[in-house]
């Protein structure tokens, strides 16, 4: 290339450069061709084949995937909101399929459910959503550990209340069900029992750890607590209280989705439109010939105006994120405070329950 374009700032170098890197510009903040990204999932209906299974699922609020969270950065705050909204949407799709038992959104990881789904937002803008999703059951077996991507089109935004990235969430739900539907009812029952004992062991490790054993890297039941075990009854009571508590937390997430959903969709739609416009502008600008002689005002103005326009378009995406932030900040803060308080309470209750339960165990066993 250098043989044809001796000056790296020449128009011919520029033209070739545009040809080879026309999509690179979009990588900040919108990217279109990161080779590490998976291919977009196929559009498919929710798989409802087979009999439903009574497995409780927990979807943990997603990780934001940011190396450093800057609370002053509107895009980071937006990502923080997304971590909750994405979990809520996944829960909704899993519930819609009616293949599993109760599906709850948890503020942090817990041994509460037989199957726990965690995830990280790898990339999110109005066009591409990439999630790394991991699902691990009570035995420690991985059901799922891969990335999902959906590239939205204009048509995905046509329905007023439709989730534009629904195919991605359906793909996650189908992948989970693809694993689950091969399980026998007996396996499901044992998984639920194991989940119950692991939960008990988490609360009272000294008392219930013996009921568990690790075999080939997976947790199994060594034995079951006796029927009518008063401690198990107590743990189940606490577990039900926690379920109620989590459902209260869940309502907060639902409210968040209702309040912020329309604005969030608007942000995503605006981002998509902006990205599409930017892409077409890049293409048009790269095809436009600059016939004015180098050094003339016309030549320099065209070069500078093109650069300025592309930068402004690119930065408008940031402003859109700021616009979202400006519009949602009071709500997010309110919801955030409530959620943070609830998270804190949930975590505090865990430790309180553990200490109370440990004390009860000690009292019942006659220990000082």
């Amino acid at each position: 290339m250098m043989a044809f374009c001796p000056d790296v700032r020449s128009a011919c170098y520029w033209w070739l450069y545009v040809g080879s890197l026309s999509l690179a510009l979009l990588s900040q903040p919108l990217s279109a061709a990161d080779p590490s990204w998976p291919v977009s999932v196929a559009r498919a209906p929710i798989d409802t084949s087979g009999e439903p299974l009574a497995i409780e699922l927990a979807v943990v609020v997603f990780d934001d995937g940011l190396p450093v969270f800057d609370e002053n950065d509107a895009r980071h705050k937006l990502r923080g909101v997304e971590t909750r909204l994405v979990a809520v949407v996944l829960r909704d799709i899993l519930t819609e399929g009616q293949r599993f038992g109760a599906v709850r959104v948890l503020p942090s990881a817990s041994r509460f459910a037989a199957l726990t789904i965690t995830g990280t937002i790898i990339h999110s803008d109005g066009r591409d959503l990439i999630l790394a999703v991991r699902a691990e059951d009570a035995t420690g077996q991985l059901w799922l550990d891969r990335m999902f991507r959906w590239t939205a089109q204009e048509q995905d935004y046509r329905g007023k209340n439709d989730e534009p990235f629904r195919p991605l969430f359906v793909a996650v739900a189908n992948a989970l069900w693809g694993h689950a539907k091969n399980l026998s009812q007996q396996s499901v029952s044992r998984l639920q029992e194991l989940a119950q004992v692991r939960y008990a062991a988490e609360l009272a490790p000294d008392f219930y750890s013996d009921y568990l054993q690790e075999r080939e890297g997976l947790m199994t039941l060594a034995r079951l607590p006796a029927r009518g075990d008063p401690m198990i009854a107590r743990i189940n009571r606490i577990r039900n209280q926690e379920a109620l508590f989590i459902d209260t937390v869940d309502e907060q997430y639902v409210e968040l989705g209702i309040e912020l959903g329309p604005t969030y969709t608007l942000w995503r739609r605006s981002s998509l439109e902006q990205a599409t416009y930017l892409e077409s502008y890049v293409n048009r600008a790269s095809e436009r010939a600059n016939n004015a002689h180098r050094g003339s005002f016309a030549n320099m103005q065209q070069v500078y105006s093109t650069y300025r326009s592309v930068k402004i378009q690119e930065q408008d995406l940031f402003e859109i994120a700021s616009g979202f932030d400006n519009e949602t900040e009071p709500t997010v803060l309110d919801s955030g405070e409530r959620v943070v308080r609830l998270e804190g309470t949930l975590e505090n209750q865990y430790s309180q329950w553990r200490s109370i339960l440990s004390r009860l165990i000690q009292l019942e066993r006659g220990l000082p």
């Binding site: 000056d7 700032r9 020449s10 128009a11 170098y13 520029w14 450069y17 545009v18 890197l21 026309s22 690179a24 510009l25 900040q28 450093v68 800057d70 002053n72 950065d73 329309p262 604005t263 608007l266 942000w267 605006s270 890049v282 600008a285 790269s286 600059n290 180098r294 050094g295 003339s296 005002f297 030549n299 320099m300 103005q301 070069v303 500078y304 093109t306 650069y307 300025r308 592309v310 930068k311 402004i312 930065q315 402003e319 859109i320 700021s322 616009g323 979202f324 400006n326 519009e327």
Partner: protein
């Protein structure tokens, strides 16, 4: 020597030494970063900033004298070395470009732990992501940007196609509350850069009696309410 006379001298020197070669800025060596807080709203101080119109006039007078000198020499059957009129036009073009590039009169600098964002009125923002050390290079199909701290100065070097090169250096005065942005514009057909110094004073945008916020669903929303402290 004031900055204006310095620039005028620089312009004259540029006229006399201009040629068709492609200049490039000198390679840069950066001092260890000593970040300075530049955040806030800033407006241009025209009285203390360079006046490009005056520089235009100086160039015009210089070119006129040059033309007259050439004409007299031609009458005597002599030839005069030095730049031709085309390089004069290129210099005018460069000055016009400098005016275009330095047009923004309002700045809104947002400085966080992770970035410095200089939002310029009616232009694109100059953004430096702090986590990387200077120079941070960003390549795009339409130009390459380098930025970072050079001591207490923030710099942005933008290399654009066809030899257009822009170098901004932003300094916050240690003694008084003002910013200076020195912009050097390089053209492939003029040997010396055209340099413009703009001084910005801090101002309070709320003094306008209203303040505006960008929102998504309602666009720009303005209010006359005083901001909550």
């Amino acid at each position: 020597m004031t900055s204006k006379t310095f620039i005028a001298a620089l312009v004259c020197a540029a006229v006399l030494t201009a040629c068709g070669s492609t200049p490039a800025p000198e390679p840069q060596f950066y001092a260890p970063a000593k970040p300075v807080d530049m955040s806030g709203a800033w407006e241009v101080d025209h009285a203390r900033s360079d006046n490009i119109q005056e520089q235009f006039n100086a160039i015009a007078r210089q070119l006129q004298r040059e033309a007259e000198r050439r004409a007299r020499a031609a009458e005597r059957g002599q030839t005069v070395g030095g730049p031709s009129f085309s390089s004069g036009r290129d210099l005018f073009a460069l000055a016009e470009m400098a005016e275009l590039i330095t047009a923004p009169s309002l700045l809104d600098v947002v400085q966080t732990q992770s970035e410095v964002r200089l939002k310029r009125e009616n232009s694109f923002a100059l953004v430096y992501m702090i986590e990387q050390s200077a120079p941070v290079v960003t390549e795009t199909p339409f130009g390459t940007e380098q930025c970072g701290w050079d001591g207490h100065q923030l710099f942005f070097d933008i290399a654009l196609p066809d030899g257009l090169h822009i170098r901004h250096r932003i300094t916050r005065s240690a003694l008084a509350d003002f910013l200076v942005i020195q912009t050097a514009v390089y053209s492939p057909s003029v040997k010396q850069p055209f340099i413009v110094n703009k001084v910005y004073n801090r101002y309070n945008p709320n003094n306008a009696g209203y303040r505006c916020t960008q929102t998504l669903s309602r666009g720009t929303v303005c209010t006359t309410e005083a901001p909550r402290s």
